[in-house]
Symmetry: C3
Subunit: 152 residues, 3 copies
Amino acid sequence: MRPSDRLVELKIDLPAITAPVGSYVPALRSGRHIFTSGQLPIRDGKLLYAGKVPQDVSVEEATEGARIAILNGLAAAAQVAGGIDAITQIVRVGIFVNSGAGFTKQPTVGNGASDLLVEIFGEAGKHVRAAVGVAELPLNAAVEVELIVEVS
Amino acid sequence: MRPSDRLVELKIDLPAITAPVGSYVPALRSGRHIFTSGQLPIRDGKLLYAGKVPQDVSVEEATEGARIAILNGLAAAAQVAGGIDAITQIVRVGIFVNSGAGFTKQPTVGNGASDLLVEIFGEAGKHVRAAVGVAELPLNAAVEVELIVEVS
Amino acid sequence: MRPSDRLVELKIDLPAITAPVGSYVPALRSGRHIFTSGQLPIRDGKLLYAGKVPQDVSVEEATEGARIAILNGLAAAAQVAGGIDAITQIVRVGIFVNSGAGFTKQPTVGNGASDLLVEIFGEAGKHVRAAVGVAELPLNAAVEVELIVEVS
């Protein structure tokens, strides 16, 4: 089953990519890879989860935030690839969690991104990842993710 | 206009690369990419901005620090590439800001690096990036940046 | 001398790779590169160093932790490569140190990983790296490392 068919089945719409402002771009192809910029849990222009996990944002909310953020990354990668079906392998996901003192469940938060990728891409969605707890994030987002994919 | 011509026009000298010590190197080519090590705002062997942003180092100073650090990265990449004009595309910039409590303007600091790359490389200078706020950095630097570029 | 011979000479056994659970994998090949997931100082299923450096875990212990973690990364990469001798170049190491207030010796901790790579691979073990101090890490590990290598 193609990733685009899976999106229909999962009732997921890839979000629109906000027009790039400034000196960096949402995604860029180099050779057979597409790299994305760091993505936040933003939907319809609004940051959904702000603050530290778990003090301000619950683990469940941050996990949902990682899912929303990676969807933004997928949308940016798909736009550069010429459609999501041109993505043949998810390679690497970076997970940065805005972590309050003593929070060590960054992998749980990261699963919000990782599990969605496998739901959409199946075996080709399995990737490597690094999940760490950072001190602060842009806009006070609860989580930021970045993505590298392979294209045909 | 070639990047080397732009450097002249901008009155920018690429700094000398400090001789590598230890088990890692400032930059390394693998396939068509050059990766750099994390770069600090060091000029003439001296760390210019140390401490947390914005409590110890202002946003403006940290932004200038990111510019100085990425210039060190460019110099390292250019040395491996055989000159800055062999760099055909800036691919990815990683921005780590030594962030004090509540600081969320990592993108502003990152613009110090990103804008310089576009000043030098034009459209080929546009890249993806991830900017995050870390708890501590080597030598207490205010900012650390890393770089991936494509060569012909 | 081949890396596998050096391992014998150094009396180092590559650890067994724990079976992947969930949506991500320990290592993945894409083109001529193998990427690994973030690796912790785990041996025989047990996390050896937990807490902040240097308040809970000494610099020496964290450095040993980085060595153990990169060995886990090498084992994962070697498994995907079809043996450690298929790894022709160490490309990049990412070092995330669980840093207590005021700790700025992330490079010293990172040397635990970097020096081991050069002990095993010689010149081909020299790599780029970025070492930063993060707020928290999975399982409260003292250090996390990730690895990119080139294969023939």
